[in-house]
């Protein structure tokens, strides 16, 4: 089986080349159960930081294939921050954007939040998994994930309308004999 070299905590390991970083951490025995949940790239619990080809990047361990020479700077671990500095403090250093495991345009997200362009902020940040890597890196303490959350909720609320159910027909069905319900089911018409 072809292998690649990765470095974790200063030590180099040979791991199978088709593995993800999470599988590699399991292979070399450095994995902890609390640093993963969904294993499919959405919960954000396994975010990690690495260096490859001279560049520092962030990733989700369950979604990132290992690469030869990859140096894991911070192994997968969960974190969540619940505070944020006002995005007016952003001086566009770009650290957040470079570390984002979802490759989101984080600086634009922060700028949109700062400018009150909430729809744009909501749209740009939709795939955010709120892993916290950007907040951890921000030198002035902005939490882009929370700024984006606020924007998305505001946009969501702006569309709110109340729906009321008319359940009279439903109540008749709930107490109807099984044969009648089965017949009604078989005779449904389908919307195209």
């Amino acid at each position: 089986m072809p292998t690649v070299s990765i470095t974790v905590n200063g030590q180099t390991y040979a791991v199978p080349s088709e593995q993800t970083v999470m599988q590699a951490m399991e292979t070399i025995g450095l994995h902890t159960p609390h640093s993963h949940s969904c294993r499919s790239g959405v919960c954000g619990a396994c975010s990690f930081r690495y260096r490859l080809n001279g560049k520092t990047r962030g990733g989700l361990a369950c979604q990132t294939p290992v690469a030869d020479g990859m140096e894991i700077l911070k192994p997968p671990s969960a974190k969540a921050s619940v505070s944020s500095t006002d995005p007016i403090a952003c001086h566009s250093c770009g650290q957040c954007e470079r570390i984002c495991p979802q490759q989101l345009p984080v600086q634009w997200i922060v700028a949109a939040a700062r400018d009150g362009a909430l729809r744009r902020c909501a749209e740009l940040s939709f795939l955010c998994v709120m892993c916290g890597l950007c907040a951890e890196r921000c030198p002035v303490g902005i939490n882009p994930a929370l700024e984006a959350m606020r924007a998305r909720r505001t946009v969501g609320k702006s569309h709110h309308t109340s729906l009321l159910a008319d359940n009279a027909e439903l109540q008749t069905l709930v107490s109807a004999p099984l044969a009648a319900v089965k017949a009604a089911y078989e005779n449904r018409d389908f919307e195209g």
């Binding site: 609390h34 790239g41 619990a45 909720r153 969501g156 609320k157 569309h159 439903l170 069905l173 018409d189």
Partner: protein
């Protein structure tokens, strides 16, 4: 990347795409569906089930892996000293997914003191992994009665009519609750809600947030829990429920996931929102579920005498990822088929209507790969194609980017462009249709114990329709929170004990609950 067999088959899929787009296989009759299920659905394989010998459901058939936990060895003994009581709360909520968060919000709103305990972080759950959408009636051509019919029939008429009636009847109000909290559902340019079909729906009733509906919903609920300053205890598993002298539930023993330290929490009522059981990996199937989906709630509830219902009924999602291998078993949303992608066999032929109910579609895929020998093999795993390029042929360039962006990104990371290439899929263990029996107040058969979400049974019968789980966790999560708060308001704290364990005899040595899957 692909073997010679796969490349040859891929060429056939591409050559037949035009033909398959013009003519899709017809919907089956109910008789044909039953026949297909009995021959090929994993729920109908007798050798994968055993009969429970002890407890409230003695005599019932359940999956072998679940039986081991239900009759397994508790992590505490009856004679053990109780760990120190660290908290006293009105409502203790076990589980940090959508149902737990909804219950916590509602219980607190009703004036109860609440503690939410979760094995990982708040939100690490199957809820965030739900992709396709939530069913709720919002369109003038639809009705809650239609939603009821679709769901009742889709579950083979086995659901509890009252529980299902409540589920669909409260759909519109639940959708409104979510938009009032700021959940973003897909809308057209004028702001009207977009709806799509799911398997087995007769009206377009699914509301999605692109293909990350559960994640969008969960992050809003989590944000609201944070804003309301509801106490959350993360990285903590419940290992046993506590009971008072009368057998009513009076709290739980908790265990820190990192240190193993234990504590007891004394509660007037407990809400079980512990989620599903996919990590039992029944019959060797992979699963779409998160690492904590280990059926803990079923084991805990069963030991204090709760009755289960339909516990033998599991849902195999027809389209689990087979390739790339690191994503084995993970979900390809049914929304892909709702948008027109069809299941195609090795010869390039469509073999099932893309929107049959899930169990029927899964059985059809299994039949294609076994009896009909028309499937593919990828590193020893059976598979068929899901022809995703059909989506853009039907709805135009850019549809995948706007409606399935997460799926596109997920596959792109491994060098597959789903806009131009079909993907390889096979059924995967997705959902537990049955679970703890509840009534329409989310009460279990044990006093003081409430349950909501995937851990419960009876709502979906023998098969759940797409989009009814997200509705379920909210309707019943909120109900459980309200009911538990109401009962707690009229109750004093009881002395918590492990009394129920004195009458319990383990039937095997499996540690129960499982707590976390070993990968």
């Amino acid at each position: 990347m692909y073997s010679e067999q796969l490349r040859r088959s891929l060429a056939l899929v591409e050559a037949s795409r035009g033909k398959n787009l013009e003519q899709q296989p017809p919907r089956l009759t109910e008789t044909e569906r039953q026949e297909l299920l009995q021959q090929f659905h994993p729920d109908y394989r007798p050798d994968a089930f055993v009969t429970l010998t002890h407890g409230e459901n003695a005599g019932d058939r359940v999956p072998t892996e679940l039986a081991a936990l239900l009759q397994g060895t508790p992590r505490l003994s009856a004679t053990a000293a109780l760990p120190p009581i660290t908290e006293r709360v009105d409502v203790l909520i076990l589980g940090g997914g959508g149902a737990g968060a909804a219950a916590a919000l509602e219980a607190q709103a009703y004036g109860a003191t609440v503690l939410l305990v979760t094995k990982l972080r708040l939100g690490d759950s199957n809820t965030v992994m739900a992709e396709g959408g939530m069913q709720a009636v919002s369109q003038p051509t639809d009705s809650t009665a239609r939603h009821y019919l679709d769901s009742f029939g889709g579950g083979h008429f086995a659901a509890d009519p009252v529980l299902l009636g409540k589920l669909v009847g409260e759909g519109p109000e639940t959708l409104s609750w979510l938009t009032s909290l700021g959940v973003n559902f897909d809308r057209d340019k004028s702001g009207r809600l977009l709806t799509t079909h799911g398997g087995g729906t007769s009206r377009k009733r699914l509301h999605a947030a692109k293909d990350r509906t559960g994640a969008e919903l969960m992050r809003v609920l989590r944000d609201e829990v944070w804003h309301r300053r509801i106490p959350v205890l993360p990285y903590t598993a419940a290992v046993e429920l506590l009971t008072d002298r009368t057998g009513a539930v009076a709290g739980a023993v908790l265990q820190n996931m990192k240190t193993g330290e234990r504590q007891a929490v004394c509660a007037k009522t407990v809400v079980l929102a512990t989620g599903g059981a996919g990590q039992l990996r029944c019959q060797g199937f992979p699963t779409t579920n998160h690492g904590g989906a280990t059926a803990d709630g079923l084991a805990l509830a069963y030991r204090v005498g709760a009755k289960l219902t339909d516990a033998e009924s599991l849902q195999y999602h027809p389209t689990g990822i087979v390739f790339p291998t690191p994503l084995l078993g993970h979900l390809v949303t049914e929304k892909a088929r709702a948008l027109g992608a069809q299941l195609i066999d090795a010869d390039g032929n469509a073999f099932v209507h893309p929107l049959e109910p899930r169990d029927v579609t899964a059985a059809a895929v299994i039949r294609q790969c076994t009896a009909r020998q028309n499937g593919l093999s990828v590193e020893g795993h059976p598979a068929v194609w899901l022809d995703t390029p059909m989506i853009e042929r039907l709805h135009g360039i850019g549809t995948i980017r706007s409606r399935l962006p997460a799926m596109q990104q997920q596959f792109a990371r491994f060098g597959i462009d789903i806009r131009t290439q079909p993907i390889l899929v096979y059924p995967t263990l997705h959902y537990q249709n049955g679970g703890i029996r509840i009534n329409d107040r989310a009460e279990t058969t044990v006093s003081g114990l409430f349950a909501a979400g995937e851990v419960t049974g009876g709502i979906h019968g023998k098969n759940r329709l797409m989009g009814n789980a997200l509705l379920d966790i909210l309707v019943y999560g909120r109900t459980a929170g309200r009911s538990a708060a109401a009962v707690a308001a009229d109750k004093d704290f009881a002395e918590p004990t492990l009394g129920h364990l004195a009458d319990y005899t383990p039937q095997n040595s499996t540690p129960s609950p499982m707590i976390f899957a070993e990968n």
